[in-house]
């Protein structure tokens, strides 16, 4: 068990180090998040009232689009010099490789989100911090769901034609329940309403989604990496 955790951490540290040295994915993702935030301001009248109402949808669309850019690079980065083959043949289980990569992606996507969130508050003049910790919990849960399916689909699409296009086509429909729940909760929380018995079901769904897809991904990742 300890060995497994260490393997996960090594993979995670390797990915984060590689990303922080080049900053290619995170820079692209951040500037893309900015562009989408800007574009939304043309789509509707950004008064405080309307913005609060649709804040959940707006934020999660930004998060999902920007996250995709990071997830796309996760396995594609390993194609040069056949690094992917080396990783697969390394004496670690596929699930350790997967979890390490998923955690690295998680940190990167969360970082982009935590920068985009205050920017959203500034641009749209919304005070979003009144339910700060509950909002952070929703962001953490929704992002994990997005990252776990995104990472496994990143492995699935790494070797195929149209890689960049296929990832969102596969990932977004699967993510719809998670995104829907996260959007509902985020809108309420940004409006200053804490999670109550009314919308608790969304939180439970989000947690269930995360647990289920983490489990299924861990079971199937070996099959995906070896590829038959």
């Amino acid at each position: 068990m300890m060995a497994f955790l260490r393997q996960v951490l090594v993979i995670m540290a390797k990915d984060l180090r590689a990303e922080l040295r080049t900053k290619e994915a995170i820079n692209a993702s951040l500037s893309f998040a900015l562009v989408v935030l800007l574009l939304f301001s043309f789509a509707f009248d950004p008064s405080e009232e309307t913005t609060r109402e649709i804040s959940g949808g707006l934020l999660w669309i930004v998060f999902a689009f920007a996250g995709t850019l990071i997830l796309n690079r996760s396995f594609a980065r390993e194609l040069n010099n056949d690094c992917l083959d080396a990783l697969i043949s390394a004496p670690i289980p596929g699930s350790a490789l997967f979890l390490g990569k998923a955690l690295a992606n998680y940190v990167l996507v969360l970082a982009v989100e935590l920068i985009a969130l205050p920017l959203f508050g500034v641009f749209y003049n919304v005070r979003w911090t009144s339910q700060f910790w509950q909002l952070m919990m929703v962001v953490a849960l929704g992002t994990w769901g997005m990252t776990v399916t995104g990472t496994i689909f990143s492995a699935l699409t790494v070797n195929i034609r149209l890689r960049e296009v296929m990832l969102p086509i596969l990932n977004f429909p699967i993510l719809i329940p998670a995104l829907l729940g996260a959007m509902q909760l985020t809108s309420a929380l940004v409006a200053g309403k804490p999670i109550t018995a009314d919308n608790e079901a969304w939180l439970k769904m989000l947690i269930g989604f995360d647990i289920m897809y983490t489990a299924v991904s861990l079971v199937l990742v070996e099959t995906v990496l070896v590829g038959g």
Partner: protein, 224 residues
């Protein structure tokens, strides 16, 4: 032999469909909705057939991952394509009904939305298949995605149900009532549409088999 069975099944499906069509047009219009209500005889069986196809695809995908036998992969892709067609038929008939009953083609109601999401999920499956050349890799990756998609179906349905509901309550399991002679025709219609599904799947399976034979012949020719 297999061809003959296929022809017989296909003919049976066509005769049943024709017979049901005559009976259905003979029924009086429904009291609240008028003639448009009768679209239910196509709408609901198509939905059930599509759901059955998704289940078969799920089981076939698991069996492929366990056994690595290509006939399961062929079955998975055949039923997925057929199921997608039926789901499209379900969405289109529902849309026509909505135009008459609600006055709009589309409403973001729970069932409509979840049907559309499921359609997108399985369309993604076919696109993934198209993007992969190598047969073993294609079959494996497609099977993995099919499992992911099938697990998502109940979550999609429940989450969107919490989100909103506008679809009329199901006629059969909640609320509404159906006169007995309509019920009998509905049963036959269900059978007829299922049969169409089976025949289409069988035809698609054969195609898949031929494709594999052609591929192996081509490889042999290259090896010479």
């Amino acid at each position: 032999m297999r061809d003959k069975i296929l022809y017989v099944l296909g003919a049976a499906a066509l005769i049943l469909l024709a017979r049901d069509m005559v009976l259905i047009t003979g029924f009086p219009p429904e009291i609240n909705q008028g003639a448009i209500f009768k679209i239910i005889f196509f709408h609901v069986p198509m939905a059930i057939t599509a759901l059955t196809c998704a289940m078969v695809a799920f089981v076939a995908s698991i069996l492929f991952l366990i056994t690595k036998k290509f006939q399961y992969d062929a079955l998975a892709v055949a039923v997925t394509e057929v199921g997608l067609a039926f789901l499209a038929g379900n969405l289109i008939t529902g849309s026509i009904w909505g135009r008459v009953a609600w006055g709009m083609w589309w409403a973001w109601d729970a069932r409509l939305t979840s049907a559309l999401v499921c359609w997108l999920l399985y369309a993604g499956y076919l696109m993934l298949r198209n993007a992969i050349e190598e047969p073993t890799q294609r079959a494996t990756f497609a099977a993995v995605f099919s499992i992911f998609a099938f697990i998502d179906v109940p979550i999609v349905i429940f989450s969107i149900k919490w989100w909103r509901t506008q679809h009329p309550q199901p006629v059969f399991w909640g609320g509404g009532s159906f006169p007995p002679d309509w019920k009998a025709v509905f049963g036959w219609q269900m059978l007829a549409i299922m049969l169409v599904g089976v025949v289409l799947t069988a035809v698609r399976l054969r195609q898949e088999q031929f494709q594999r034979e052609i591929d192996s012949l081509r490889r042999m020719a290259h090896a010479l």
